[in-house]
């Protein structure tokens, strides 16, 4: 079974604790610029904070574009083989998410390797914005949300004082708590 690191951007507060633990875990230094996860902050339209991290794509652009076969995969986790890598940075450019990073003191690009199956950032995130889930669970929250959205749109008919009326579930919620 393959596991995925999933991001819930709405929860992220931009504290960068994920970057800190990543740099400590990976390189043994306190340096957010050496982390394989990076929080992007967009302001003011829209306002969002979102960690960018490798999605371990099954059809991996980085792997396809690597001229030396330095992107290696083991148990569905992709990593860069420092021996084979020539640091041409094709992978950095070809990743659709920008989830492969560079640092001037490090010879080769680096990316998330899921801490070999126990990602430290997930447990460290104080907002639960990072989740580590089995592959088949991904998409379930969205499926759930779309069902709820459908139900909210649906109308129910009822009779009040002999009069036929239509009510939307969404309106029931809206009325709650107001005078």
């Amino acid at each position: 079974m393959s596991w995925k690191l999933a991001v819930v951007p709405e929860r992220c507060s931009g504290c960068k604790i994920c970057e800190l633990v990543c740099s400590i875990q990976r390189f043994g230094v306190n340096n957010p610029k050496k982390s394989a996860i990076r929080v992007m902050v967009i302001y003011p339209h829209p306002i969002i904070r979102m960690p960018i991290v490798c999605r371990q794509c099954k059809v991996a652009k980085c792997m396809e574009n690597c001229p030396t076969g330095a992107i290696v995969t083991k148990n569905g986790i992709y990593d860069i083989d420092g021996e084979k890598c020539i640091s041409c940075q094709q992978c950095v450019i070809s990743c659709p998410f920008g989830a492969i990073f560079l640092h001037e003191e490090i010879d080769t690009p680096f990316k998330c390797n899921l801490c070999n199956g126990n990602p430290r950032c997930v447990e460290a995130c104080p907002k639960n914005a990072l989740l580590f889930l089995p592959e088949h669970v991904l998409g379930q929250p969205q499926r759930m949300a779309s069902v709820l959205k459908y139900v909210h749109m649906k109308e129910v008919e009822y009779v009040e004082k002999g009069e036929r009326k239509v009510l939307r579930y969404a309106d029931i919620e809206k009325g709650k708590g107001e005078d």
Binding site: E10, R11, S13, G14, C15, K16, I17, L20, V21, I24, G28, V29, N30, N31, P32, K33, K34, R38, M40, V41, Y43, P44, H45, I47, I48, R49, H103, E104, E105, A124, P126, K127, G177
Partner: protein, 620 residues
């Protein structure tokens, strides 16, 4: 690189050993090395700042808005490290608002970036020939003139500089129009709305023709024993997350304080006349949650995420997006001016951020004008024929604009309360300020320790040095003065220590985080074993130093009194109706306070103690 002498020394981490001096007059950059004794005595953050200002003062008089004033930006040895809330940076200067020592600290991650650029502190003097910004790229500094930034908002400038330097990830501290116009309570902004708000540091930047400071840094932060730090930090993060108030705190942040303060009857209402606001529920945290909040934000390394992001979705202010509000802003633009519309508070917050004005001072002074109109202390002509009635949103927003652009009466207010009083002496009794800094949003009438805290704060009436009101209310008024003075001094010692280290005080004060942990963080980082009480001693020394700086500007006992209102005007409503502070009682606690600090009866630090600050550790 560390010198060989230092490698053999005691301190093995925490510092880059580099204070970068920038002289804008000569366009000169000089790294200034400091030694271990300096680092051990002043630690960092505002400790470094105060010492640099002190040394600078020895060379001659400083006019706050003159090129000779020194602006120090100093994060502290723990800033940027893997420990709770390590994103603080101190901005230190001689304040244009008060004319004495001034500082203010900023959250976000500007200071972390500065440290990653290999710089422990920046010390900026002189004045650029034209409007410019600084670009510090991993320690390399350039002064870049850019007239196009003139008149631009703080946040707009942040975006423009990032675009010009083609890097979204850099950190930019900016000033708005108010800073350019040297409004004496202009602030410095970074991270889209984190402010170094108080004492007018933005005006100092403006007077130096410095519109922004952009930084990129990628260096490892020096930590002596990273596994030890990691161990202590992990336990700390865990204890914070296990706190029962943790989730609530993330949800509301400082906005949760509104209900508490209103129930306690210490909410600044109608220019500090009252302590209870009838419509507090319309401007509290729940109101924010139900209609406006769209996200959480936090400063660097902070799990508490007290920042709120709000958006006004409909009505007159539709589209207003702001990082905020914080408690102070919501109070000063809410109850203090009689506003009960939360979206108007958000609009005022956003305007102040963009124009670069301290929200506390602005809300305070606008409240003063409203009272002055109501009571006839100012004439229609004085007030530019504006109808400044309580609760008028239009007038509050108009006044913010007038202050920033120094238009009409705004030009008088822009000078800060000391000069407002000079122009209109009749306003003296109704302006709540100490040493020229306007009071922040906690009433002090019923809590003598809070009054003492405001009055003896080294920058003026700000709550950041001593926020003792909650403890005093909890302990009851009958608590002996001795204990209250001790409490104030403990706050004034511990809280500045946070500013020296580059960390935030909120985990301690709000979630009861054990302050002894900071000694462990410091020891792990620097390799110098230090207990909390040893660190606190350095902080006590710093308080003497800032007092010594203030003594140079003539500060003594006469300046250590809380706002006049506290003694003269009882509230008419709420749990504390009818109460005022007794002057004799205040004199008594002030005597106790001086005695405990080892200051003279007139509030002066002894010369022989002052001499210890003349150690020739740093020469500029």
């Amino acid at each position: 690189m560390p010198t060989s002498k230092r490698e053999k020394g005691k301190i093995k981490g925490g510092y880059f050993w580099k204070i970068l001096q920038i002289d804008l007059d000569r366009e000169e950059m000089r790294p200034l090395e400091f030694d271990e004794a300096f680092a051990l005595k002043y630690i960092g953050g505002r400790g470094f700042g105060a010492k640099l200002i002190w040394d600078h003062l020895q060379k001659g008089p400083i006019y706050p808005l003159g090129p000779e004033n020194l602006l120090v930006i100093s994060p502290g040895p723990l800033a940027g490290l893997y420990l709770p809330a390590s994103g603080k940076t101190a901005f230190i200067s001689i304040s244009p608002e008060t004319g004495i020592y001034g500082d203010s600290n900023m959250g976000g991650s500007f200071g972390v970036e500065l440290r990653q650029a290999g710089i422990d502190a920046l010390a900026i003097s002189g004045r650029a020939k034209t409007l410019s910004y600084l670009w510090i790229d991993n320690g390399e500094v350039r002064i870049i003139p850019n007239e196009r930034l003139k008149g631009k908002g703080s946040l707009e400038t942040e975006g423009m500089v990032k675009e010009e330097l083609k890097d979204e990830h850099i950190k930019v501290a900016t000033i708005g129009v108010a800073g350019e116009n040297r409004v004496r309570f202009a602030c410095v902004t970074s991270d889209w709305g984190r402010n170094s708000g108080r004492t007018g540091i933005g005006a100092v930047m403006g007077s130096k023709n410095l519109k922004a400071i952009a930084v990129r840094g990628s260096k490892d932060l020096p930590v002596f024993d990273l596994p030890r730090l990691q161990k202590a930090s992990e336990a700390s993060f865990r204890s914070l997350r296990e706190n029962k108030n943790f989730a609530f705190w993330q949800e509301q942040g400082l906005m949760s304080v509104i209900d508490y303060v209103n129930e306690a009857g210490v909410m600044p209402t109608f220019n500090f006349r009252e302590g209870v606001f009838e419509h507090a529920k319309k401007v509290n945290g729940y109101e924010m949650l139900s209609k406006y909040k769209i996200g959480d934000t936090s400063c660097f390394g902070c799990p508490m995420a007290c920042g709120n992001v709000c958006l006004v979705k409909d009505g007159k202010y539709r589209g207003t997006a702001v990082e905020g509000p914080e408690y102070e802003t919501a109070c000063m633009f809410g109850p203090n001016v009689g506003i009960q519309n939360f979206s108007a508070i958000l609009k005022a917050n956003q305007l102040c951020d963009e124009l670069g004005i301290d929200t506390i001072t602005a809300g305070n002074l606008i409240g003063v004008l409203m009272e002055a109109q109501e009571t006839g202390l100012l004439s229609e002509k004085d007030l530019d024929s504006l109808n400044l009635k309580w609760g008028s949103e239009e007038m509050v927003l108009e006044m913010i604009q007038r202050i920033a652009h120094r238009k009409g009466i705004g030009n008088v207010l822009a000078e800060g309360s000391l000069r407002v009083i000079k122009q209109w002496p009749q306003l003296r009794p109704i302006i709540s300020q100490v040493k020229g800094l306007e009071q922040s949003a906690y009433d002090a009438r019923i809590a003598i320790s809070m009054a003492l805290g405001y009055a003896t704060s080294d920058i003026g009436a700000h709550h950041t040095r001593a926020w003792t009101i909650a403890k005093e209310l909890e302990m009851g008024m009958a608590w002996p003065l001795e204990k209250k003075a001790d409490l104030v001094i403990y706050h004034q010692t511990l809280r500045p220590l946070f500013d020296m280290l580059g960390v935030c005080r909120l985990p301690w004060i709000e979630l009861g985080f054990d302050e002894n942990q900071y000694a462990e963080f410091y020891s792990a980082t620097t390799g110098v074993e230090m207990k909390l009480n040893q660190l606190l001693e350095k902080s006590i020394g710093l308080y003497d130093l800032t007092r010594a700086i203030n003594m140079r500007f003539g500060i003594s006992r006469k300046d250590d009194y809380p706002p006049e209102r506290v003694f003269t005007l009882p509230m008419t409503e709420g749990p504390h109706a009818g109460k005022i502070l007794k002057l004799e009682e205040y004199e008594a606690i002030l005597d106790i306070y001086y005695q405990k600090r080892g200051w003279t009866k007139d509030g002066l630090v002894e010369e022989k103690k002052i001499e210890t600050f003349n150690d020739p550790l740093v020469t500029i």
